[in-house]
């Protein structure tokens, strides 16, 4: 095992540590945030400010009886929750989290793997996330679950188009698929992409809500009509895996959005290097992910759910044309030398 492999493993462990701990933190943030927005206390019994609530929840999940419906399709039923975690924990490898670090006599780029096809790899792997929802709904052998996963498959495909095209527009002036180049471009031009590409940024933001099944687009689980949608039949730890998967996917898309539109790990007017730069870079990225998560929570408890036909109309007749307009605009601006 050579030093490069060890470096990659350590970098992955760092990013994995950040992403795996987002769910328990978010359990608390989401419930306290809901309380704040709805003018009620929220969970405040376990520990100071209810801070130990996630711990209590985790224990509850572990000790609950694990029920499998008798007529469920066993292999797919067991596989689906595991697949829910896969996209987020794979795609985090292309997110850069700091400047190049010179340590132990070598230069280490602070991104787990800096592949040529960076953003494409992210989009490709995250597009596989829908299979978890589809499998769960089909395998549960329950009509509400099935309806949920049918909605999921149509919804995720529809919004993936707008999301992908808004991401591609960012790459035109950068002239590279590497996310580290996107960050370097924003640092060199002293402006975050969200300013010249405000249209693409808005399309990305709205599509991200649909891609992660968050309100106002959580039609696959719509509890008022489909019980709990695709995960109706899941309980105990298996449900917790879906839960963790949802938060991890939100964090992954939040990290992608922060990197594409909000400067990634960089801070304005601050150029640090070495270990200090690495730590500040990682901290900045985590802070930006945290802001993205806070927006997810804020929107969830503010807007009501869309109707299914409204969702489809918004995706195909508003967001997709807007993203194409944005793509053409950015291409023209790049040709004119404005970007």
């Amino acid at each position: 095992v050579n030093a490069d492999v060890i470096a990659i493993l350590i970098k992955y462990a760092v990013m994995f540590g950040v992403f795996i701990n987002i769910a328990p933190v978010m359990v608390w943030v989401e419930r306290r945030g809901a309380g704040l927005i709805q003018d009620r206390p929220g969970p405040n019994r376990v520990g100071p400010f209810g801070l130990f609530q996630p711990l209590a929840d985790a224990l509850k999940f572990m000790f609950k009886e694990d029920v499998t419906p008798a007529l469920a399709d066993k292999p797919l039923y067991l596989l689906a929750p595991v697949l829910a975690l896969m996209p987020a924990f794979t795609t985090l490898v292309v997110i850069p989290f700091g400047p190049d670090l010179t340590a132990f006599g070598r230069t280490i780029p602070l991104v787990v793997t800096n592949v040529d096809t960076g953003v494409l790899l992210f989009l490709a792997i995250s597009s596989l996330g829908v299979y978890s929802l589809v499998m769960a709904g089909y395998a549960s052998n329950n009509k509400f679950s099935l309806l949920g996963s049918i909605r999921a498959s149509a919804q995720l495909i529809s919004y993936e188009l707008a999301l992908t095209i808004s991401v591609l527009a960012v790459l035109i002036p950068v002239n590279s698929f590497r996310l580290s180049d996107v960050v370097a471009y924003q640092q060199a031009h002293h402006v975050w992409n969200c300013i010249p590409q405000i249209l693409g940024c808005i399309v990305f933001l709205i599509s991200a809500f649909a891609e992660t099944n968050r309100l106002p687009f959580d039609l696959p689980e719509a509890e008022s009509e489909l019980v709990a949608g695709f995960h109706t039949e899941y309980g105990a730890m298996r449900f917790a895996l879906f839960f963790q998967g949802e938060y991890s996917n939100m964090a992954a898309l939040g990290a992608l959005g922060a990197t594409l539109f909000f400067g990634g790990w960089t801070l304005p007017f601050l150029h640090l290097s070495g270990w200090l730069g690495a730590i500040v870079g990682l901290g900045t990225l985590i802070a930006k992910i945290a802001i993205a998560m806070a927006v997810f929570v804020w929107v969830r408890w503010t807007f009501p759910r869309f109707r299914y036909d409204q969702l489809m109309r918004l995706g195909w007749k508003v967001l997709l044309p807007l993203s194409i307009v944005n793509l053409i605009l950015v291409a023209a601006m790049t040709l004119a030398g404005w970007l």
């Binding site: 589809v134 049918i150 149509a154 495909i157």
Partner: protein, 196 residues
């Protein structure tokens, strides 16, 4: 290491490919297709074409097969039904198809593999050819006309699909509600103004 990964994913691609054509449940067959496509993507990456690998997953596994699943679940096909076709014709078509496939396979081997020692092997693909820039340059210069024709073909397919989705004799495209049964699940039907 690369050889191990190659054999692992080649076997996975072949195995899941066999499941695709033999499994009775359409859902399992479709999900196996995803495994096949994913293994193919890994093989592309091993061949030094990560861009093709990513596109393979993004387009096929991430979009097209999801649509297959959507249709299968919508129609709620549980088991493959016996096709009411003439078995005799099917047999002859199958034999013809197998012959064409074997012929092409043999041709490929005859022209490359079996004569590796005799003829000079073609030059390996360079980084410039498989990189994004190389592919894009080739597509928009040497292969511009085929590329544009493919675009036209896709446009024709889109128009065809739109025409096929129309109700005969009306300008309305089938609304999504009918397909997904949203109204049925949403409870009592209220007047339009109240619901929106």
């Amino acid at each position: 290491m690369e050889t191990v990964i190659f054999f692992l994913f080649a076997a996975l691609a072949l195995g899941s490919g066999i499941v695709v054509v033999t499994h009775k449940s359409p859902i399992y067959a479709t999900l196996s297709l995803v495994v096949t496509l994913f293994s193919m993507a890994v093989l592309f990456v091993l061949l030094g074409a990560p861009f093709l690998g990513a596109l393979q997953i993004l387009v096929y596994a991430g979009a097209i097969v999801v649509l297959f699943l959507f249709v299968i679940m919508l129609l709620n096909v549980q088991k493959e039904e016996d096709a009411h076709v003439d078995r005799g014709v099917q047999l002859w078509v199958a034999i013809l198809g197998a012959l064409v496939f074997l012929g092409m396979f043999w041709l490929a081997f005859w022209r490359t593999g079996l004569r590796l020692g005799a003829a000079p092997s073609p030059p390996a693909l360079t980084e410039a050819q498989v990189s994004l820039k190389g592919l894009a340059t080739a597509l928009f210069t040497d292969y511009l006309l085929p590329f544009e024709i493919v675009g036209l073909l896709l446009l024709v397919a889109v128009i065809g699909a739109t025409v096929a989705a129309r109700r005969p004799g009306s300008d309305e495209i089938l609304p999504q509600d009918d397909l997904v049964g949203d109204d049925a699940a949403a409870g009592p039907v209220l007047p339009r103004e109240v619901r929106s």
